[in-house]
């Protein structure tokens, strides 16, 4: 004899029926795929190799782009300084020290 106070195990059939009814409601009015298919094929016809621009505006690609630009700037800086010889380094040092002096120079 079962204990009436004990909670009943969930009925899998009831869950399946619930899921089927909910799925039918959710998909109602969205079954026609002809317009979706036409829209996708039309966009493909315009440019088959296109990449949605929004894909590159997510945090990871933007961070990678920023890191890449910083690296390029750093490398360019190291390449640029020797072009002026020792005098170029002195000028940069003087400018850096000048920023520390009140009033600057």
């Amino acid at each position: 004899m079962t204990d009436p106070k004990r909670p009943r195990d969930p009925d899998p059939l009831a869950d399946d029926a619930f899921d089927a009814a909910l799925g039918a409601r959710l998909r109602a009015g969205r079954e026609d795929t002809a317009t979706l298919s036409a829209a996708v094929l039309s966009r493909l016809a315009q440019d088959p190799r296109q990449t949605p621009p929004g894909r590159w505006l997510t945090p990871a690609p933007m961070a990678a782009g920023f890191a890449g630009l910083m690296t390029v700037a750093g490398v360019a800086g190291y390449l640029w300084v020797p072009l002026f010889g020792a005098g170029g380094e002195d000028a940069i040092l003087a400018a850096a020290l000048g920023g520390l002096v009140p009033g600057g120079f």
């Binding site: 969930p10 619930f18 998909r27 969205r30 795929t33 298919s37 966009r43 929004g54």
Partner: protein, 191 residues
């Protein structure tokens, strides 16, 4: 259509797609388009944005078809993972835009007006008015799992693979989601 027949059809369409057959994309859209539309509409709460996401999913399927590896999962898993990731990205970007005041809160997702018969349209809209907020009230992961099961008709193992969870964890999410939805809809019926 049975799950096996759909999986077989998807696998054949994917093979054709990898060979560059664009019409195969239409076959995949026929198989997964309605479910992904419904999923996106209730993940984003906006029918027009859902249409945009559905298009983006299948454009991504086309452009990355060569990267699909059957050994790593079923076609359905791969496509639904793309859909779930796109919805998550869109929700995050929209949250930032709303935080910055650049975007207003949209109206609830409604089915298209393409349904035949005015009564059916009204009935469908009324059902969705009740269902939309109830689904929106569920935690994100529970709603995602429930929508994949109901709108996408995915099996537990497919949902688990698409969400990167164990089948047991998915079952837990589904049980909680159903309970939450029944409770919310029951409260609405009592009003």
């Amino acid at each position: 259509m049975t799950a096996e027949a759909r999986a077989k059809g998807a696998s054949e369409a994917m093979d054709a797609l990898m060979r560059g057959d664009r019409l195969a994309l239409s076959r995949l859209i026929a198989l997964y388009g309605p479910g992904i539309r419904a999923f996106a509409a209730h993940q984003l709460g906006d029918a027009s944005e859902a249409e945009d996401i559905a298009q983006e999913v299948f454009l991504r399927v086309w452009s990355e078809a060569r990267r699909y590896d059957p050994a790593r999962g079923a076609v359905s898993t791969w496509i639904w993972r793309i859909a779930a990731n796109l919805c998550t990205d869109r929700r995050r970007r929209r949250a930032v835009r709303r935080f910055l005041g650049l975007e207003a809160v949209p109206e609830a997702a409604l089915p298209d007006d393409a349904m035949p018969g005015a009564e059916r349209i009204v009935a469908g809209r009324e059902q969705m008015r009740q269902l939309g907020p109830a689904l929106a009230a569920l935690p994100d992961r529970q709603r995602e799992a429930l929508l994949m099961r109901t709108a996408g008709e995915l099996a537990t193992a497919e949902i688990a693979a698409a969400m990167g969870l164990s089948p047991g964890a998915v079952e837990q999410l589904l049980v909680r989601a159903r309970a939450g939805l029944r409770r919310t809809m029951g409260e609405k019926d009592d009003d």
